[in-house]
């Protein structure tokens, strides 16, 4: 469809752009920089994380835990990673879930715990 025709269908264009974004984002490879050791400890409720490089100690929420533990095993594309977390926690992969996971991921990246290639 050419652009002029598409403009009549603003909704469709939006969807098209969103699809492109999702496509791009899902190609992003996430990994834990292996120069920096991560130590995890749980007492049964939540999980603490010690980031040896920065010396920070963090409390990981229930959605961050499977994200980090999965990445400890090796890099993974973002889409697959979020699906893994959803599967582990029995969540539906809807917009709310994805927004939440984006936030969690962004927080971890800000702390240099997770990086993107």
């Amino acid at each position: 469809m050419n652009v002029c025709q598409a403009l009549k269908f603003k909704g469709l264009i939006f969807l098209w752009l969103v699809n492109i974004k999702v496509l791009v984002v899902s190609l992003v490879l996430l990994y834990i920089p292996n120069d920096f050791e991560l130590i995890l400890k749980s007492f049964g409720n939540e999980t603490l994380l010690f980031h040896s490089a920065s010396g920070d100690t963090l409390l990981l929420g229930p959605t961050a835990i499977p994200l980090v533990t999965r990445l400890k095993d090796g890099p993974l594309e973002q889409e697959a990673l979020f699906e893994y977390v959803a599967d582990k926690l029995n969540f539906e992969v809807d917009e709310d879930f994805l927004n939440h996971m984006e936030e969690v991921l962004s927080g971890l990246m800000k702390r240099d715990i997770v990086a993107a290639q």
């Binding site: 040896s52 490089a53 920065s54 010396g55 240099d112």
Partner: protein
Amino acid sequence: MINSSYPLLDVLIDPELLRELTLADWNELIPQARHALLLGRLHALIVQHDLSDALPKQPLNHTLSAYLASEKQRASTLWEVVKLGRALNSLDVPVILLKGGAYIQAELSLSNGRLLSDIDILVPREKLDDIEKGLHSRGWRSSKKDDYDDRYYREWMHEIPPLKHITRGSFLDVHHTILPPTAKYKPAPEKLMAAVREVNPGVCTLAPVDMVIHSATHLFHEGDFDHGLRDIFDLHGLLIHFGENESGFWDELAPRAIELDLIHPLYYALHYCSLIVGTEIPKKVITQVKHGEPNMFMSKVMDGLFMRALRPDHPSCDLPFTGLARWLLYIRSHYLRMPLHLLIPHLTRKAWKRRFAETVEQPKVGDTPIMQKNKTSGWRFWVR
């Protein structure tokens, strides 16, 4: 045989002598090492020479404690360098580490147990404004709240004041030259920057000969002898390490110092390392640095001053007139750093400030009275 009133020097040169110490000797040794910022290094040597089991446990608690602190500093420094790398590399500027930060990043053994207080970097002068802005946006702020102090750095020393990070609390000194533009000797920073070695992507140290010359200049020009003995052992460590591992190091050392207009501090460095620690310097180099030797009279005067000032800042290490020696060298360093018409008002103000010592940030945990920052030695002569 150990000098029982100044055991620190003997045991640092030959750690096996620690076996000879009585518990009473340790009462002298620990405070000396602590004041000299060498307590962590002492522990590193004890471990390296496998002496832990042979020595009494109680004093070793103190050396271990200092060593643990130095290990934390190592980890923090490495992390700071990562953060600095991101800040500077985005401006296409490499992180050129100086002094302690460089020793840690280059994993030199002299960094083992070493205690440092801040990170020093060298940057190109023309990018100074951008760098300051870039650092500011990532949380580094001026640590000087006083306008005078701020001006001292910017207008007279042509430097950014020391920076402190708002969340991490780390200190950063950004240099664009190794001596102030007002100083007597003028080493060209471009020459240093052209010769740097990359130790990690985007992170560099000075070339080996430059690292030695810079350390020598810092010690023998800057007048900060608080940790003079530590700096002498740093120099000794650098000379031994590069002498053994860098081909051409001894050949290049003196000529490079001449090229940088810094043959005088290099002379002093080699002279006092040899005199105090017994560092072996090749004869050829000794001859080459004679360029930097003062006349016979000054030589004797300087020996008298430096051999006092380079002892730990602790009363048990003081020789007669040590206070005077430190003061004279302090004045000398400022004279070398700035012309007389700036020097006198500056020193007057500094002395006045010292009477009303600054308060230090309260520790966040525990009840203590208000802490203060002050020196208790060297200034006895001048202020009190």
